[in-house]
């Protein structure tokens, strides 16, 4: 299963890749949400994305991906914004995300969620 990871923080992105690859997943990354939006065909089976990014808004990404590729699963991982309060994770669900996680997370949790989201693959 291919997973697209979007996060503006390079090391976070790198660590995600390492994590996923260590678990045997195929990964694709971009640190710029615009690039993700520009993708013409479904890039992966699952999207893991941060919410608060400078170039492209995570929420927009979720909404657009959900619209374009309805069967694609979307997992949100976010540490929140600096001044953002409120339930941004719930908001992400409303935008169309399938599941959410907050950074930092327990990697085991991540894998559990992945299994739940794509049971046919596992």
């Amino acid at each position: 299963m291919r997973i697209l990871v979007v996060d503006d923080n390079a090391d976070v992105l790198e660590s995600m890749v390492l994590l996923l690859q260590s678990a045997g997943y195929e990964t694709q990354t971009t640190n710029d949400g615009r690039k993700a939006l520009a993708m013409s065909e479904q890039p992966a089976d699952l999207l893991i994305t941060d919410l608060f990014m400078p170039e492209a808004d995570g929420f927009e990404l979720i909404a657009k991906f959900r619209q374009r590729w309805p069967q694609m699963k979307i997992l949100v991982m976010s540490g929140g914004g600096t001044v953002v309060r409120g339930n941004y994770l719930a908001l992400a669900i409303r935008f169309g995300a399938d599941a959410t996680m907050s950074k930092p997370f327990e990697p085991a949790e991540l894998f559990k969620k992945l299994e739940k989201l794509t049971p046919e693959v596992h």
Partner: protein, 566 residues
């Protein structure tokens, strides 16, 4: 109301009586006059002419006698003629007398006288005729005797006539006397009556008039009692005449006036009373006024006191307001600081997430992919980097704390900023490349000496350049300029052409925990301590740091100046 016209009536009566008397008098006078007329008539028609004629005869006869004598004395023709004439005349007059009617009682006397007269005259003629020679004294005496006789007889007749005439005259006289006395009587009577009337009228008028005058005088003098008395007496009692009415009217007028005067008097006394009242009230008011004045002054002084107090209070209030404002300002500042600190803590917490997530993931990956060397290496690098990042963050944090509590120390040794900058630029090379930009360094020919801590100075420069890379654009390179001024002070300018700083942030740029943009659109992570730290460190070195920016999207320039080393 019928009333007698006392005065007019009386006057009328008087006049009437007068007229009556005059009428009577006139009638009487008329009778008398008639009588007189009669007498006179008699006299003129009968007696008088007779007497005249008789007298004329007598005179003529005498003349004839004289004529004879005259002839006798001077027997001229003229004398003779004259004598003739005289005799003729005498005869004529005798004839005339004869022709006149006579009364029977006088007739006899006349008849006696006539022949004598004729006889004489004839004798006279004969005397003359006889001529002078015959005329002698005796003849003359005889003639004269004849004459005397004739004249005596004539005289008798004349006497009779005269007697009649005298009687007539007497009668006239009598009538005249009667008239006189009658007139006198009438006049007297009239006078008397008039007097009486006058007296009565005057009396009847005088009294009331005098009384009225008296009353009037008294009224003038102020005594109205008499006038009022008049009114009390009814009209009927007064004689019903003009004066009575006048008196009554007078009395009524007096009463009315009196009444009015009384009313006036009472009004006046009322008014006076009221006036007195008002006066009394006035005096009261005056007293009250004075009291009020006193009170007013008291109030005034109280007012002034109050005003002074009010001023005090106002001043105090102002003070309080100022203090309040100050406190508010301070509170605001504190609140702002507090908010910033809270924000900062939020940011801090947030900033920790990513490094922790990266480290956690990397560790798990290492454990999972135990045989994968590449994976392990990459994971190690991530952990290393992130750990360093965390360290730096904590150091920054601690630095700020230390600065705040004044516990930071710097070394003081001569440092060439050129070296510092070169080193800082070198350190940032990778970051610059990754950001797609490069740093241009411009150094002076001479050494740029500064007294300070090399490590800290590097920290400062590194921070500024880092920021420039972070917030600078990728179009133009970042310029770092080092200059040495004439006074041996040094200046470092870091210029970028990036997002710029808006005026609002420019103000709080060096204040701790403020960021260029604490919203979502941040380039890189950062706690916002950098510039605060830069400022503190620069100032510790005795320098000054300033930032310039024309606004968002117009880049920024940071300028640091250090004083000349001692």
């Amino acid at each position: 109301m019928r009333f007698r016209l006392k005065i007019v009536e009386r006057m009328a009566v008087g006049f009437g009586l007068m007229l009556l008397i005059l009428a009577v008098f006139a009638w009487v006078m008329d009778r008398q006059t008639r009588k007189i007329e009669e007498a006179r008539r008699e006299l003129t028609t009968q007696i008088s002419p007779l007497i005249d004629a008789a007298d004329s005869v007598a005179i003529r006869v005498l003349n004839a006698g004289i004529g004879v004598r005259a002839w006798a004395l001077d027997p001229t023709a003229e004398a003779l003629l004259r004598h003739h004439q005289q005799v003729v005349e005498a005869r004529a007059s005798l004839l005339a007398l004869e022709l006149m009617p006579r009364e029977p009682d006088a007739e006899a006397a006349f008849q006696q006288a006539r022949p004598l007269l004729e006889d004489y005259l004839a004798e006279c003629q004969r005397f003359v005729e006889r001529g002078k020679e015959n005329a002698n004294e005796a003849s003359e005496q005889r003639l004269s005797a004849r004459r005397e006789k004739a004249l005596t007889a004539l005289n008798a007749f004349t006497k009779l006539q005269r007697g009649k005439m005298n009687r007539a005259l007497l009668s006239i006289q009598g009538a005249s006397n009667h008239a006189e006395s009658g007139t006198a009587l009438v006049v007297l009577v009239a006078l008397l009556l008039f007097l009486l009337l006058a007296v009565f009228t005057v009396r009847s008028v005088r009294e009331p008039t005098q009384h009225l005058v008296d009353v009037a005088r008294r009224m003038e003098g102020g005594d109205w009692s008499a006038a009022l008395e008049l009114a009390r007496v009814s009209v009927d009692r007064h004689a019903r005449d003009e004066l009575g009415i006048l008196r009554h009217a007078f009395g009524a007028a007096a009463t009315a006036l009196e009444g009015r005067e009384q009313r006036l008097k009472s009004l006046v006394s009322e008014l006076r009373g009221k006036n007195d009242q008002i006066q009394a009230q006035n005096e009261e008011l005056q007293v009250q006024n004075e009291e009020l004045q006193v009170q007013g002054e008291e109030i005034h002084t109280q007012n002034e006191e109050l005003q002074a107090q009010s001023e005090e209070i106002r001043a105090q209030n102002e003070e309080l307001a100022r203090a309040s404002a100050r406190l508010r300002g301070q509170a605001e500042v504190l609140a702002e600081e507090d908010e910033r600190k809270t924000e900062f803590l939020g940011v801090l917490a947030h900033e920790l997430r990513n490094p922790l997530a990266a480290i956690s993931n990397s560790l798990f990956a290492m454990k999972r992919g135990v045989g994968n060397l590449e994976l392990r290496e990459r994971a190690e690098q991530v952990i290393e980097r992130q750990t360093r990042l965390l360290s730096r963050l904590i150091e920054d944090l601690l630095d700020v704390t230390r600065i705040n509590s004044g516990k930071i120390r710097i070394d003081r040794e001569p440092v060439d900023l050129a070296t510092v900058l070169r080193s800082a630029v070198e350190d940032c090379k990778i970051a610059a490349e990754r950001a797609g930009t490069r740093v241009e360094l411009q150094l002076p020919t001479q050494p740029a000496l500064v007294e300070g801590d090399p490590m800290r100075l590097q920290q400062v420069m590194g921070n500024l350049i880092d920021n420039a890379i972070k917030f600078g654009g990728d179009k133009k390179p970042i310029k770092v300029l080092l200059e040495v001024k004439d006074d041996r002070s040094t200046e470092v300018r870091v210029t970028d052409d990036g997002v710029g700083i808006d005026a609002e942030l420019l103000r709080r740029l060096f204040v701790p925990f403020s960021q260029a943009d604490t919203s979502v659109k941040r380039h890189r992570t950062g706690l916002g301590l950098g510039l605060a730290l830069v400022k503190a460190l620069v100032e510790l070195h005795g320098g000054k740091v300033t930032a310039f920016s024309e606004g968002l999207g117009r880049g920024a320039e940071f300028c640091v100046r250090f004083p000349a080393p001692k």
